[in-house]
Subunit: 249 residues, 2 copies
Amino acid sequence: MQRYFLAEPYRPQPVYTLTGETYHHIARVMRMKPEAEIYLVFADQRAIVAAIKEITEEAVLAVELRKEALAKELPVTITIASGYPKGDKLELIVQKGTELGAAAFIGFPATSSVVKWDEKKLNKKQQRLAKIAQEAAEQSQRQAAPAVELLASKKQLQEKLSEFDAVFVAYEEAAKQGEKAQLAKLLQQVQPGAKILAVFGPEGGLTEQEVAAFTAAGAITGALGPRILRTETAPFYFLAAASYQLELL
Amino acid sequence: MQRYFLAEPYRPQPVYTLTGETYHHIARVMRMKPEAEIYLVFADQRAIVAAIKEITEEAVLAVELRKEALAKELPVTITIASGYPKGDKLELIVQKGTELGAAAFIGFPATSSVVKWDEKKLNKKQQRLAKIAQEAAEQSQRQAAPAVELLASKKQLQEKLSEFDAVFVAYEEAAKQGEKAQLAKLLQQVQPGAKILAVFGPEGGLTEQEVAAFTAAGAITGALGPRILRTETAPFYFLAAASYQLELL
């Protein structure tokens, strides 16, 4: 069933009036008819099943049938911060990371980042990534589409660290030394509703100085198993492990 | 440090003589010099650190310095079976799945598979995927490069099921119904050395008939968390959860 994300929070209404892109997609792209059922997902992560009653020239009118039964969001919010990687890897991180439950994505220029993006390029890239996140959220039946923020400096990331309850830095050296305890410790101790930031370096990894700056601000460093994961694969491991620990165990 | 996979099992030797592609890569591509150190990974998954002693016109001569200390392989062998997906998704599954620890990959024509590959195409594809697996195994510092097998019929997959100690079928309907117990149960009960087959449908999913055929042969069906994962993302979840449960917890 098709899933539409709305900008406003949930407020019960006898009839929901859908306009703009949602209207266009229902009426023109999908060519739905009255009686068809859709999901409506509100900005406060509440979701309902609705039936289309009428399609006018300007709006789709729909009525609520029932609340969506299952919780589709992780019990903690996980933000993935990636040092800008090469090529279209950030697209892959955002698409798959959204399916795997990430709450938000942050890109930042790490010391080893090869790409240099100016403000115009960052804006364009941000729009593209936000669209990918929204589409992946619809496809994976999420109750929220992750936000995407692309930073112009590392300092901006440092300034955000205090917003999080825990900061985990995936560190290749930890994997090489066989570190095994930190990720499980974090995921087993974390409280529902906690805000976690997981930081990943670009292809060349994070420098010692970068890791030191994160740990000085209270971050923990750890490995994601004994194998060396690429910059785009490591976030998938982190998110899947979090889901397994917090949603299945 | 560069990693080379050799076709023979480990047997201690005063000097290891490296020829063929390994020689070519060391001498011509990397242009290494005597004293440079490399990993040599043998067919029985044993790995050593070796130092190059001499590079002749035909061979690299190397001596063992020490055994590789860490175990890089999952304590169980996991084979990922994917119903042929569209485009180059199988490449992505094999590359990332190798990083995440898969022991082998099997492709098979599922009912919903759109692509139809003849024997010639399957052979070509298999060679390409085996190369991707080998490169990803080197990059992620594995002690074994996964095998890749592309089947021409579903029957061939059915005939293999008895080779495995457990068969897990990732089923979208299970995710939609909020199934949560099966994956954790499997991973918590599995014995070291066990052979697990994890089966994933193509974009359209597995049909009810396909799932029934697997369960009739003893397979369990289950979900990978509450979100709907794409065909290429689901194996990443399975492998990361297995690593988290078996290597970190």
